[in-house]
């Protein structure tokens, strides 16, 4: 892909860097998908879409954070 | 230690190879069997095709193909006797079933629709895709990653989810059941694949070629047309075939947005019916004819297949 040489964003808080945040939002998406398709609880199913939406929107935002 | 040196891991033993080959061949034969069966069925008579137990060897007949291309009406023997004798072999065949040919069936216009829509959308998608891919490959486009993801995500959309508003949009614009509408729609779906695939191909052409040409006085556009395009021609051809196969195979949009004038083969084939249900030899004949071009293209595409199914990411 595009080879951009970026200086390490050292001043950006470590916890809010792209890697860990992306992992969290991806987990959220995964969790939402499991909630959507699990056969155990209608309640979980009801909240699945909110979870997926939060995960997806979060991912879109977080993926623009510096590394 | 000599045993280790004798057989390198990269080169498995002869026995392992033979066993592997046999297993793979077995799988391939099982996987091909349904296709062979359809091919065989297309050359069976209607009675043989639905015999119980299924007949592997039966008298061969082209009745399926004749039925596919014609519509027929059943007549009384008295009426048939009053007709002049049949002129052609297919009339004779139909007459032997106590039927007369009423006219051609709709299969030829449907095939033509498939071809027109397939080639039209492929041409547009490849043209748009090539220039966009070149721009993404060579220039610093702001937000390039986001744009590329946006382009890819449009292909990931569930067709039925997009079909609702497109149905309404086409209804308002008068594009329902028109070839133009289907061409535009398939172009939009294919352009994402075309951009991603062609970006991969163009990335592989060294920039030095164009730079040398531009030093020689070519403008950027001339360099694109005279240096990059000829280099990318294999990639463009492979991409075109992928787009063509997609448009050829597409069903969800076709069944929801077309009903007659612009209907393509996939929604048409399930509705080839004879007297009392589906006319299986005719369906099999249509399926065979429909698959033949794809089989040919698959063989041609063999080396680029992997790129095509991974949006150009895996290059082997």
């Amino acid at each position: 892909m595009n080879e951009r040489i970026e200086p390490r964003a050292s001043r950006f808080p470590r916890l809010l860097r792209r890697g860990p945040c992306e992992a969290v939002t991806m987990l959220l998406i995964g969790l939402g998908v499991v909630m959507l398709m699990q056969p155990f609880s209608l309640n979980l199913f009801s909240y699945s879409f909110v979870t997926i939406l939060a995960g997806t929107l979060g991912f879109v935002i977080v993926s623009h954070f510096p590394d | 230690m000599s045993t280790v040196a004798a057989h390198s891991v990269a080169e498995p033993s002869q026995l392992a190879k033979t066993i592997g080959g046999m297993l793979v061949a077995t799988y391939a034969i099982i996987a091909i069997l349904p296709l062979l069966w359809i091919f065989l069925t297309s050359f069976k008579t209607p009675t043989d095709s639905i015999s119980y137990p299924p007949k592997i060897i039966s008298e061969s007949s082209v009745e399926g193909y004749v039925n596919l291309f014609t519509t027929r009406t059943r007549q009384t023997p008295e009426f048939l006797a009053s007709l002049p004798p049949p002129q052609t072999w297919y009339e004779r065949l139909v007459r032997s079933r106590n039927m007369v040919i009423a006219g051609p069936s709709k299969v030829v216009p449907r095939f033509i629709n498939s071809i027109v829509i397939g080639f039209g959308s492929t041409f547009l998608a490849v043209c748009l895709g090539t220039i966009a891919a070149y721009a993404f490959s060579r220039f610093r486009v702001p937000l390039a990653d986001d744009l590329l993801f946006f382009i890819l995500s449009t292909r990931m959309m569930p067709p039925i989810a997009v079909a609702i508003p497109i149905y309404l949009m086409f209804r308002n614009l008068g594009l329902t059941d028109t070839k133009l509408g289907m061409i535009l729609l398939y172009t939009a779906v294919n352009v994402s694949l075309a951009v991603w695939l062609l970006k991969g191909f163009i990335d592989e052409i060294p920039r030095e070629y164009e730079e040398a040409a531009m030093v020689d006085g070519y403008s950027r556009l001339q360099a694109f047309f005279k240096v990059v395009l000829p280099q990318a021609i294999t990639g463009i051809a492979a991409t075109a075939i992928f787009c063509l196969i997609f448009a050829w195979n597409e069903y969800a949009f076709a069944v929801l947005l077309t009903s007659g004038d612009a209907q393509t083969m996939p929604p048409f084939i399930p509705f080839i019916i004879g007297e009392g249900g589906q006319d299986w030899p005719a369906v099999a004949a249509a399926t065979t004819l429909f698959f033949l071009p794809i089989l040919l293209f698959t063989v041609l595409l063999r080396r680029h297949l992997l790129r095509g199914i991974t949006f150009g990411a895996v290059r082997k």
Partner: protein, 314 residues
């Protein structure tokens, strides 16, 4: 000597050519990208926004003149508390999980075998690849023929090997078997896809790693678990995610093979959506369902592209 007008005429095309040739790279980039983006905006994004708007209304496409009423989040609330939709999601889950599980197993196995490069392996590989290039709709249609209880090839073959009566079971008409019929046809069709990607993964592993392991006297089994599998993992993820997305939204093959039946046993998400949108004509309600499916796929597609990037770096 020529007149002024003639001279101007002669200069005009040259000026145009001049302008094109000195166009800045930035201008060319935008000129080249804009048509594709505009097309996608018109045919994908505009409809998507429209769907979002419709999902908050009670609109029915078969009654365009009925008064349009905004119902807020009611459609979403209805869908997300509807046991029928929930069951459709479970049917989808059954289909997705089993088809992908089997495809991974068979596909990876085949890839390991083909990687031994036996004689004529490229011929057999091409043969195996054929089903995945075919039209899912036409495939679904002709499998209904193969799966007919008496006249179909499948039942006869099963009967031949198990001794059961070929008319004693029907793959499509039986509530218990129909979900497996769609899994089976999907596995038949898409195992080659998984195999091809796994094969690429296996071939991307450099030989020297195995040679080093051989020097360390690692067993074959050990080599598989600590070299082959981790190295192929990104490729497996790629195949799993793509197949999961595709099967989650699977419509054409299932629509023609079982069209959701018998009853609603094989009614996967897309079939529910089609029934709501184009049979019951509850456009507003089905738009909300479409958005739910879309957001799910979009979320998964984000992850897919991350994996794609990882594979590309190899």
């Amino acid at each position: 000597m020529s007149t002024l007008a003639e001279r101007a005429d002669a200069r005009a095309p040259r000026r145009l050519a001049f302008r094109l040739s000195t166009m800045s790279d930035r201008a060319i980039a935008w000129l080249f990208i804009t048509p594709s983006v505009l097309l996608l905006l018109a045919i994908n994004i505009f409809p998507l926004l429209w769907t979002i708007q419709l999902s908050f209304t009670n609109y029915r496409a078969n009654r365009p003149n009925a008064p349009l009423r905004y119902v807020g989040l009611d459609n979403y609330r209805d869908i997300l508390s509807d046991p029928d939709v929930w069951h459709a999601m479970q049917a989808t889950a059954h289909f997705v999980l089993w088809s992908i599980g089997l495809e991974m197993l068979i596909g990876f196995g085949l890839a390991l075998l083909i990687n031994r490069r036996f004689r004529a392996h490229s011929f057999w590989t091409t043969m195996i690849l054929l089903p995945m290039m075919l039209s899912p709709a036409v495939v679904g249609n002709f499998w209904t023929f193969l799966l007919q209880p008496q006249i179909g090839l499948f039942n006869s073959v099963v009967a031949f090997f198990t001794g059961a009566d070929p008319s004693s079971f029907q793959m499509i008409g039986d509530v218990a078997l129909a979900p497996w019929a769609i899994v089976m046809v999907d596995v038949w069709m898409w195992t080659p896809y998984v195999m091809l990607i796994c094969l690429a993964g296996l071939r991307s592993i450099p030989d020297y790693i195995y040679e080093a392991a051989e020097v360390d006297r690692a067993s074959r089994w050990r080599q598989f678990w600590s070299i082959t599998l981790p190295m192929v993992m990104p490729f497996l993820m790629l195949a799993i995610l793509f197949r999961a997305i595709e099967n989650f939204k699977m419509f054409d093959m299932v629509n023609l093979l079982t069209s959701g039946g018998p009853g609603s046993t094989t009614e996967v998400a897309s079939i529910t959506l089609k029934r709501e949108a184009f049979e019951k004509w509850r456009t507003g309600y089905s738009s909300a369902l479409a958005i739910i499916l879309f957001v799910t796929v979009f979320g998964a597609a984000n992850i897919y592209v991350r994996v794609l990037d990882r594979v590309k770096q190899r």
